[in-house]
Amino acid sequence: MNALSAILAAVQELAPGDYGCDTALLDEVGLDSLDYATVVVQVEDELGVKLRENDIDWSSVRTIEQLAAIFEQHGVPAAA
């Protein structure tokens, strides 16, 4: 599974809806910080990686695609 698919699956579980790559996780999906942390943990588990907190500028991560790019930086393919 690639990062984009894993993120979409985790988001769908929390808040079912029709989302695209440029959907904003907080503003459009309506996730709060706990939901956001849940998505990150579930994707980490699904892909078998751990994000390195200090390497990430979270203020620049707003959309599903941008989160997928973070996982890509940690060695996970962002998309198939």
């Binding site: 910080s33 706990l34 849940t38 943990v41 579930q42 588990d45 994000l51 390195r52 907190e53």
Partner: protein, 374 residues
Amino acid sequence: MASPPPPRPVLLPAAAPARLRRNDGHVFVVGPGRAEQLAAAELLLAACEADAPLALAADDPRATLPAAPREPGLVFFTSGTSGKPQPVHRPWTALTAETSAHGGADDRLLLTFNLARYAGLQVLFHCRRHGSRLIVSESVRDGAAIIAAGAAEDATHLSTTPSLLKRLVTLGAAERLDGLRQITIGGEYATQATLDLARRCWPAARVTAIYASSEGGACFSVSDGREGFPAAMLRNGRDGRVGELAEDGELVVALPDGRVLRTGDFFERAGDRVLFRGRREDIINVGGYKVSPVKVERVILGVAGVEECRVVGRPSPVLGEVVTAEIVGDFDQVAVRDACRSALERPEVPVALRRVQRLELSAAQKLSRAGAAA
């Protein structure tokens, strides 16, 4: 005036010390096997009789062994459930006085802890105080061996942690240890589910939950079958101990020798009871919200099919920490999630549930949170 000479080291039967690994002077490292436990018992009783200094350490690579003690009494180590084991010095008289006043020569106590740990020492010194029989299995780390030894010698008393109790029950202890009259549960917090399990398995036995620590001895014990202990007991603990809950809920105990012990254990009042919330080191900080893993475990253990559970914090790049759970049993993940969502505040709800085959117990027969897979 010359200072008095240091106390003489205990003289041991020639065969005994060879069973133990001698480290430094009077510091001995005690493994879990029967021969080592028996030798340790002999060593402890001889040192106690002679009021000699002695130091024992259970086989724990995390423990930094102290220098040989010069003061009469015993140096041993805390279990290190949440961190590194710490050495504790206790006089021999205290170790005997902290055992139960009730006992007799026909009691047969099954040893489930290393004798170099406080819980094991309590069992040994109970036997010494009342002339009871000590049953030593082939290994105190092997549940099947413990049950076999207890069944062979018709054990009447079992002292255990909640985690070990569950493990022993799954190995058939209820059927094979059918002569138990007294079950003492300590070392970890005994939830209502644990107390009910003991009651179901041994309906004729007295079940006692005890709150004790290596540093402060046995503080409170209760045998009414209900989780926690009566709030009134705080002011009336064992042997004059007086407890108080600090503003943040930490239990502070005034000990008979004048010391004041900050336990690092946090409790909350619930009606007429005082319930455990967790150890300081175990509290999970989810974006500033303090989560008690015990509270979460209590909810998860109430779901059908859940046998064992461990809740720990996991580093989160978003919130600092989040709550995760490892669960043993044949359970429905949706039911666990639903139970958590209905009974807990949002930050307390685990963000990840991991199904595992079993949870490893520490050398102190407890669920270790330090270093748990999060």
